[in-house]
């Protein structure tokens, strides 16, 4: 067992983990932050995306031991300080960017990383950036629309489908 300490959503968090403990397991099982979802065993679905030191990564494909000392942000850290939905989350609600919601935490974390890098992405850029985030419900259209809207762009010409 190894001792790990990291800052998660601004709070100092530590625990004892095995070498094989994934960051996703540490967040979900040790810190009870179950918003980070695990949808596959092959590193392909993106439901587990969190930010480590400001970069989007798949928490199912990083060892908790490797995140020792890191700053981690999960979906639980995304809401505004008063608990209201942040601009990306609100846009997902307004534009029906989710159905079952399983992929949504990863989608929101990827969207936040994209908008930090590229504050006004084109539709193609949004779709490219979401290559590693799979959604089985929405057909992506309203997810893309929500992210465009969250970036402050007019989405009225993007037809709802």
């Amino acid at each position: 067992m190894v001792q790990v300490s990291m800052t998660v959503n601004g709070r100092a968090s530590s625990g004892e983990v095995e070498g094989r403990t994934l960051l996703s397991s540490f967040l979900r099982d040790d810190l009870s932050l179950t918003g980070t979802h695990v949808g596959c065993d092959t590193s392909q679905c993106g439901a587990c995306v969190v930010h480590v030191n400001g970069e989007a990564i798949k928490a199912c494909t990083m060892l908790a031991a490797e995140a020792d000392g890191a700053e981690v942000t999960t979906i639980e850290g995304m809401a505004n300080a008063d608990g209201s939905l942040n601009v990306i989350q609100q846009a997902f609600q307004d534009h029906h960017g989710l159905q079952c919601g399983f992929c949504t935490p990863g989608m929101v974390m990827s969207a936040a990383a994209l908008l930090k890098e590229n504050p006004e992405p084109s539709e193609t850029e949004v779709r490219d950036y979401l290559e590693g985030n799979l959604c089985r419900c929405t057909g992506y259209h309203n997810i893309v629309k929500a992210i465009m809207a969250a970036s402050g762009q007019d989405v009225s010409s993007i037809a709802a489908e």
């Binding site: 190894v2 094989r20 031991a65 490797e66 590693g132």
Partner: protein
């Protein structure tokens, strides 16, 4: 996953020492190794994490004008930091997997793994790169030895990769949409001394140089120069995504596109 210890050395020397432990294995970005461990296809007793070694990360130019990339440099960092130094290589890195994979996966891990459909092997072979390890330098032409097989010895660590910079270059990848690896990928690089063409995703023997196309392009660097050439599909990968003959045909098409894009 079976359990293992994790070591996080801060220097290449400490990493090399840790690799001396019984059943030790290097851990780069983990984007291939961690899914493999989940399937219990490997059972190391200790993983030696290379991503905390500062001397193995980053992109720079050597005194003789080559682009040197640390073995633990992520695809995302290469896409960003090599963009002005070697655009063809940075472009290739920027299309590996997805953004989260690129934030973790490393050049050393990709070259050590030598997946027959991976992108970096095409750039390394197509540039005549040098793979530098903790013990020696290996020319790309000697390094790739077939699917998932390389010249690396047990415990050897890729610390750096050096790329001679071509006049023009381009990588064209026909994406296998489910995995986002290359169904066929072709890297074309034009040097003063001639053109190199390296093909990934196609052959049962892994990445290879297409020498007929190299000869044709060295005398006439145009898509037309490769139009008449054809490859046999006999030793090409044949799976549900495409037959060997289909892949062989795609190699020609992607080579032509790469030349057009590079010129």
């Amino acid at each position: 996953m079976y359990n293992f210890d994790v070591e996080r050395p801060g220097t290449v020397a400490d990493a090399a020492a840790a690799m001396g432990r019984e059943d030790a294995q290097a851990l780069g970005g983990g984007q291939t190794l961690i899914p493999t461990l989940k399937q219990r296809l490997a059972s190391p007793s200790v993983l030696v994490s290379l991503t905390g070694i500062a001397e193995m990360a980053g992109v720079c130019t050597t005194d003789d004008g080559q682009v040197a990339i640390g073995g633990a440099t992520t695809h995302g960092a290469v896409a960003r930091d090599a963009a002005s130094l070697y655009p063809g290589l940075a472009g290739l890195a920027s299309h590996i997997g997805d953004p989260a994979v690129r934030n973790r996966g490393t050049i050393g891990g990709s070259l050590a793994n030598n997946d027959p459909s991976a992108c970096y092997p095409a750039a390394a072979l197509g540039s005549g790169a040098t793979i530098i390890t903790n013990t020696r330098s290996i020319a790309a032409d000697d390094y790739f030895q077939g699917m998932f097989t390389t010249a690396l010895e047990e415990g050897e660590i890729i610390t750096e990769v050096r790329f001679p910079v071509p006049e023009v270059s381009d990588y064209q990848k026909f994406v296998q949409p489910a995995s986002r690896f290359a169904l066929v990928g072709v890297f074309v690089a034009k040097y003063a001394g001639g053109v190199r063409v390296a093909v990934t995703g196609a052959s049962n023997d892994g990445v290879f140089r297409w020498s007929e196309a190299e000869a044709a392009l060295s005398s006439d660097f145009s898509a037309d120069a490769v139009k008449g050439l054809s490859l046999s599909g006999d030793n090409m990968i044949s799976d549900l995504h495409g037959t060997g003959a289909y892949r062989a045909h795609l190699v020609g098409v992607m080579t032509g596109r790469a030349v057009t894009n590079a010129a």
